[in-house]
Symmetry: C2
Subunit: 514 residues, 2 copies
């Protein structure tokens, strides 16, 4: 009796405790994913070798353009490339050799050391949507993004358990002048969150501002010795490297900060309409970009990027979450691993105008593919809508919830004695049930992924509660998370110094809106 | 000039032709998927051997129950098993040995030979949802299913390009007596479609009716020599085989028709809460079931089934499209291949009450997993809603469209000269674009998967057209397909004989509604 009563109290105290647990606001962040599952390898060795040989042929025969960048041409000439105007032709083997000084994995430090991430190897780091000029939510519809929206997204990313990274331009704060908004965005990432973040790439001077602000946040010496930012360097596919992107890359590389070298591919427009042809071009472009990055500073961290979408040949519209993009990404992952480089792809890709079933199918296709393709850094892992034109608040929390699925898939299968569960099978036997057995009681809390959003209730309960669809549940969750946001602590002197830097920089130049 | 003009006519005649092509109703059915991609192998050899050893231990030490089935107990005793009441303990190695006479792949014939499917090997055959007592659509909401609904689903499956199979109990026609509805369902599959279908398993006499009606449709001799039906034999997990299911299995096996032997697992309730433990039980159950099937008739076609969901440990509700179910299915695929048996899993699994984003995330997770897990027969590949309680019309066409993604993913990467596209990359060069190049023109029609449902239009066009979400587009597509349905031809004498059989059978027994 006493034992039963104690057990009842022990579990029953649990009644209130469990309710509290369910309603408490978690600002826990899961550790970045360490895969305990294999990668999906879609290309055999013969196919990989053909593509690698062809990419070298492209670099050697066709070459790449470095536009408006005499310093880059000089670096290439000194390294042994053939220069013809802005065209750089790279002798077979040279680009791959130059890439070999880039690290296969590196740590990106966060100001909260518990939030630092290791990019590369078997790891997967998840970062939110990047770049949309518009935002959308249920209350306000589709509209130009503002700094207020930006701050809300940074708060949501901070509150999202399965997001490891605060991202960069989560949306474009269009109410701030173009030449100053990077300062406000960086300040937001640095003060409203303690997760790692990305630097500005829209101008070399803004990249330098990013490095300088990190000097205030982390200390200048720390920044010179460690990587505290990733940055997104898009290649103007096909085969073109512009001076703005390369100028920013030069700043980051010189300061030992990480560059994602990403071909920007709409298949059939910026690359051949075939998967193998696209992979060939992607590899040639990334090798040229990373090689250049290593010419600037050997050993600087670089990431093999692949932004891949298809095209609707009827309308010319880009399409997302399609099988051809998946095939390219699987192959690109293999090519990246053979270069010993960390690999980046995209996550919540979709073409839908609403966070509806189309958006969810396309996004789930991309997220599953990203995990299986061995991606190390997944940009746009939540919140992307309408081909990247819109950052959507509801979709942000819907996708962020699905990122938990990736964490649990990556655990793979535990095959130890507890995983084998032979005692449970013996205990329950034919016709029994497992709910009450000792093994279930010992393991149920961690056994299954549990959504923080989706509805598993019986039909009648769900109907009584107003027949809420995923969109409505997501609206509620956005509101809940923003209402319960608590700013992480930051040394007031550092916060003040950052604000002063931003104010001074802003005062030093006139507003520019283009 | 003449050449240009001819070319223009040639392509321009295409203007009207292309429009006609876009609006024409296709009743084309794609060939079943023949994978040109590897399977995803999540377990290493050591883990597989542990699970296989443990499954044999379960069969030998714990055993399985064959309930109310003296004939089964006799068969097992004669084969060398240890019988204790209804408990059958199977000596180590015996079940696997008995399984070895089942074919690794087999043809299921359709009455239209072009629609016959090969189940096993690298193939994937897609069949619709099975079993829901309710249906839902935008116009009528959620309601009990009727025979009229059933017929509509058979028509939709017939009209769906990516569905290879007409399925079985696509929904339960609850307006027809329980003891007679199998007759109407079979007649529907046989006359409204020419795709392959499934037989009844709710009573051995209904299995026999299924065989007899196939005798009329295909000819009795053909049926005895060929497989013309699959049937779904659920195991009452854990480790229990009831007399109704086994009685139906006996009828099908004796007549050389295919049985899917499927543990019915809600993880944590009918199986251990761990992945490896669930796999152990699944393997033990399938081996016992297929072994029994082979005791009835060596060489009869059998399929290794796995119906796996998780449980929400808070509410006890089953959950679908979860990572743990995926891990089990990946592992089960490997175990099936090591038994040389075709493998079945489920497709459009979801727990949502509506065909909303939750439903789409969960379904896409399951569909992608099914392709990668090496599934050979995917039941419920479209239309499943609310944990299988509802067959949803809109979701049916939404999911059926996504099945095209699986077809295109399965193509893998073409690495021939055309796939390599080196001429295209040389032709376009740095800064160019591929839309007009020769390689794109030659390949664009087949290069990319094209949805028949999803919206890729620019925001403004989409807004002008009424801001339709996926659900609305799906409502339109259901209506379009049903309005354009054309019944496939059938020999009038056969149609008459089938109707007469159904009428006679119905007249021979009183209605039963339970």
């Amino acid at each position: 009796m006493a034992e039963a009563s104690a057990r009842k109290r022990g579990r029953g105290g649990g009644g209130a405790a469990r309710r509290a647990e369910r309603t408490a606001v978690s600002i826990e962040t899961a550790k970045y994913i360490e895969r305990n599952i294999p990668n999906f390898e879609i290309l055999n060795d013969e196919a990989l070798e053909i593509i690698e040989t062809n990419a070298e042929t492209i670099l050697e025969e066709v070459g790449v353009n470095f536009v408006d960048n005499p310093a880059a041409l000089k670096r290439w000439r000194d390294a042994g490339a053939d220069i013809d105007g802005e065209r750089v032709r790279i002798p077979r083997g040279l680009a791959r050799k130059l890439c070999s000084t880039a690290p296969s994995e590196f740590t990106q430090h966060a100001r909260n050391p518990e939030r630092s991430v290791v990019i590369g190897g078997k790891n997967l780091v998840l970062a939110p949507v990047y770049g949309p000029p518009f935002v959308r939510d249920a209350a306000g519809g589709r509209r130009y993004a503002t700094m207020d929206d930006f701050n809300k997204f940074v708060k949501l990313a901070y509150m999202s358990k399965w997001l490891h990274h605060s991202g960069g331009t989560v949306c474009e704060p269009t109410d701030i002048p173009v030449n100053k908004r990077h300062l406000d965005m960086l300040l937001s990432h640095m003060t409203l969150s303690d997760k790692p973040f990305m630097g500005s790439v829209t101008d070399p001077s803004r990249a330098q501002d990013s490095v300088d602000m990190c000097g205030i946040l982390f200390g200048e010496e720390f920044v010179q010795q460690n990587t505290v930012m990733t940055s997104l360097t898009n290649i103007n596919s096909p085969l073109t490297f512009d001076d703005v992107m390369m100028g920013s890359l030069e700043v980051y590389a010189e300061n030992n900060q990480a560059c994602i070298i990403s071909p920007f591919i709409v298949g059939g427009a910026m690359a051949p309409v075939s998967v193998a042809g696209t992979l060939t071009q992607v590899l040639a472009e990334v090798m040229a970009g990373v090689a250049y990055n290593q010419l600037v500073r050997p050993g600087a961290p670089a990431i093999f990027g692949a932004f891949v979408s298809s095209i609707d040949m009827g309308s010319g519209a880009p399409t997302f979450g399609t099988p051809e993009a998946s095939l390219v990404t699987y192959g690109a992952g293999q090519l990246a691993r053979r270069l010993n480089l960390p690999f980046r792809s995209s996550g919540s890709f979709c073409g839908s105008k609403l966070p509806d079933a189309q958006a969810a199918y396309e996004t789930a296709n991309s997220l599953n593919m990203g995990l299986m393709a061995g991606v190390n850094f997944m940009l746009h892992s939540c919140g992307w809508l309408e081909g990247g034109l819109v950052a959507d608040f509801e979709k942000f929390v819907m996708d962020a919830d699905q990122l938990g699925v990736l964490h649990h898939l990556a655990k793979g299968v535990q095959i130890d004695e507890n995983g084998q569960a032979m005692d449970a099978i013996r205990e329950v036997g034919p016709g029994g049930h497992y709910l009450g057995c000792a093994h279930t009681q010992a393991n149920f809390k961690s056994a299954f992924w549990k959504s923080n959003l989706l509805d598993y209730k019986p039909f009648e309960t769900w109907a009584d509660e107003g027949e809420r669809d995923t969109y409505k549940l997501a609206t509620n969750r956005v509101e809940f998370l923003l209402n319960n946001y608590q700013q992480p602590a930051l040394d007031p002197a550092v916060a003040e110094a950052l604000s002063a830097y931003v104010a001074e920089k802003k005062a030093s130049m006139p507003d520019a809106f283009t």
